[in-house]
């Protein structure tokens, strides 16, 4: 299995604060990989570097053999990386189906001039995008909620909608920032199953940031642990779980000594 994404000694500093420090990281194609670490470990910063919201201070990110670090986010999306956000960032006042249609933006080709002239190909593209958006809503379990304004959806549905919007970008790699945050155990189990389905049915590679250890250990094939911006452990869930530095990072020195 070849690597779809490769980060080479990525460093991101905000002034004097080094949030991500010399992290090497790869994601094999078709895998579900998790990134964990205590609060403030630099997970989301690393995520934002991959997604193009931050430029790395040093180091490069390669995706499908091309360097993507330094490119603007919309271009990275076009290459095939889509994401969700830790604190849901839907287009609150747009309907569910509109949100998903925006997600498809990078796969559409109509120019404003096509729209002004109402060229048949523009009309067709709009129609197809809408059909696709409704299908995706159904796929994530939001059938019949197409016309609901995003902010009026219940929390769990908003997470699902964000996922549908990301899928509309037809990603090869999906970045999920705490997809089960704030969910009850039932919803969490459903979301976990859904992520696995995404990979199995659609062949999408998944990178996951997660706090819920049960989720991480349940679905990831590989786990990378960040602490204070540096990678402290990497391996299968069971290996990482027993790693002393990981236990120390999460629970403190005394706990690791006691165990």
């Amino acid at each position: 299995m070849s690597d779809i994404l490769e980060a080479r000694s990525v460093t991101k500093a905000f002034g004097g604060l080094v949030a991500v420090d010399e992290v090497d990281f790869t994601i094999p194609e078709g895998a579900i990989v998790s990134l964990i670490g205590p609060n403030g470990a630099g997970k989301t910063t690393f995520f934002n570097v991959i997604a193009g919201l931050y430029k790395p201070t040093r180091g490069t990110v390669h995706f499908g053999g091309k360097v993507i670090s330094g490119l603007p986010p919309h271009q990275i999306t076009r290459y095939g990386i889509a994401r969700t956000f830790q604190n849901i960032r839907l287009f609150q006042n747009m309907t569910a189906v509109e949100n998903v249609m925006v997600g498809h933006h990078s796969r559409m080709t109509s120019s404003p001039f096509d729209a002004i002239l109402r060229l048949p190909r523009e009309r067709t593209e709009e129609r197809e995008t809408e059909v696709k958006a409704r299908e995706l809503l159904e796929y994530v379990g939001l059938k019949g909620r197409d016309g609901v304004t995003a902010k009026n959806l219940p929390y769990g549905d908003q997470r699902r909608l964000e996922l549908a919007r990301a899928l509309a970008a037809e990603p090869k790699l999906l970045l999920l920032d705490e997809p089960t945050a704030g969910m009850d155990p039932n919803e969490t189990a459903r979301m976990t199953a859904f992520i696995r389905r995404l990979r199995d049915e659609r062949g999408i590679t998944v990178l996951l940031i997660e706090h819920d250890m049960k989720v991480v250990m349940g679905i990831s094939e590989r786990v990378t642990v960040l602490d204070h911006g540096t990678k402290i452990a990497e391996g299968t869930p069971t290996v990482v779980q027993r790693d002393e530095r990981v236990i120390e990072a999460y629970l403190g020195r005394a706990a690791s000594a006691a165990s």
Binding site: L53, Y54, M101, K151
Partner: protein, 380 residues
């Protein structure tokens, strides 16, 4: 009416669609028949309908920038001025271009297109350095631009004739139509431009770019992450809005036959902004309604008002009332009515469903906003 829970681009169906068609056809018929109605009823409004409809064209353009893309532009009159002066440069006997002065003015309709293109270029010029700015900060920069343009015009008399103004300016020459003496063809010209503007902005709003504007207005970071190119999307909004203003400016210059920097001051920008806020940001038909109402109040009702005040003055032998200049009260009345409107109906009279929702939503928390700024700064 379409269900408000559905998106804005869903074409209405069945009875609702028929109703829409009837309303639109009625409005078009009324607009086209206006000069006849005006003549039959002897209203004497033909000279007033022209600035009113012209300002609606301006409002439609500004609506793209402010209503669709959410970029607050307080210097919109600058593009109006640029369009007007482009027309003058291309057709006036006092043009700085020798070939125009020496009897080869550019054809009006071609000059109109060029003026609009020039304004669009200036739209990009203003847009490019302000890409990272939002809200208040963007408003300040555009305000500055709106101030600079008339100042430059005033202080370069060798090119623009300064405060003296440029006169005369070329007008359209169509065989059998007397643009020089008759306001009616001007009215039809502007209504034609207005209708094209409505169709154009309406189609854009319901397209891929319209959705991108809306997404960008809601959340720039999320929009960029979904594949929206913030740079081109913003610049397109700026230049499209400016091109409308350029169109309107070129017609205005030719209609008035004289232009001077004083005609393009800050009040003009605010007046247009008030039109779209009054009518309902983001809603094309709301904007037209807002423009009609404000134009009617400004150009027609104030005349009535002043006639009434003067009449009362005469009747009571109060010379002070009789000679009061009511136009001074105009700004006051506008101000008061705007404040009232903002308190009672901040979304405007005919808001788009989405804008109404936005204004009544809880405000984003401060920390979130701060985070966002940090992220946006890094995107560039």
């Amino acid at each position: 009416m379409r269900r408000s829970s559905e998106g804005w681009w869903y074409t209405a169906k069945g009875a609702a669609r028929d109703r829409n068609i009837v309303t639109t056809a009625g409005a078009i018929a009324l607009a086209l028949a206006f000069p006849v109605i005006n003549q039959v009823l002897n209203l004497g409004w033909e000279a007033k309908a022209i600035p009113i409809s012209l300002f609606i064209v301006l409002a439609l353009g500004l609506n793209v920038v402010v209503g669709f893309a959410g970029l607050l532009d307080l210097g919109y009159a600058a593009f109006f001025a640029i369009g007007a002066y482009s027309m003058a440069f291309l057709t006036s006997e006092v043009s700085p271009f020798a070939f125009v002065r020496e009897g080869q003015p550019v054809n009006f309709f071609i000059a109109m297109l060029i003026s609009s293109a020039v304004a669009a270029c200036f739209g990009v010029l203003l847009g490019a350095p302000t890409l990272r700015l939002r809200g208040d900060y963007l408003a300040i920069v555009t305000l500055g631009f709106g101030e600079i343009v008339p100042l430059v015009i005033r202080n370069t008399p060798e090119v623009t004739k300064g405060t003296q103004g440029m006169n005369p300016i070329g007008y359209p020459e169509v065989p059998g139509v007397h643009f020089a003496t008759d306001p009616v063809p001007w009215y039809y010209l502007i209504v034609a431009v207005l209708m094209v503007s409505v169709v154009l902005t309406g189609r854009l709003q319901r397209s891929r770019i319209g959705r991108a504007w809306a997404a960008m207005r809601e959340d720039e970071v999320a929009a960029a992450s979904m594949g929206v190119n913030l740079v081109t999307t913003k610049l397109f909004a700026f230049s499209l809005g400016a091109s409308f203003s350029g169109f309107a400016g070129s017609i205005w210059a030719s209609y008035l036959q004289v232009i001077a920097p004083e005609q393009f001051r800050f009040d003009v920008s605010i007046f247009v902004l008030v039109m779209i806020i009054l009518g309902g940001l983001g809603n094309i038909y709301g904007v037209i309604a807002g423009g009609l109402i404000l134009g009617f109040v400004d150009r027609i009702m104030f005349d009535w008002f002043s006639a009434i005040v003067h009449g009362i003055g005469r009747a009571t032998n109060n010379s002070e009332l009789e000679l009061t200049d009511t136009s001074r009260m105009r700004q006051l009345l506008f101000g008061v009515s705007l404040v009232v409107l903002m308190l009672v109906r901040p979304e405007g009279l005919f808001p788009s469903a989405r804008r109404r929702a936005e204004l009544h939503a809880a405000e984003e928390s401060e920390t979130e906003a701060a985070q966002e700024r940090a992220v946006i700064e890094d995107i560039e």
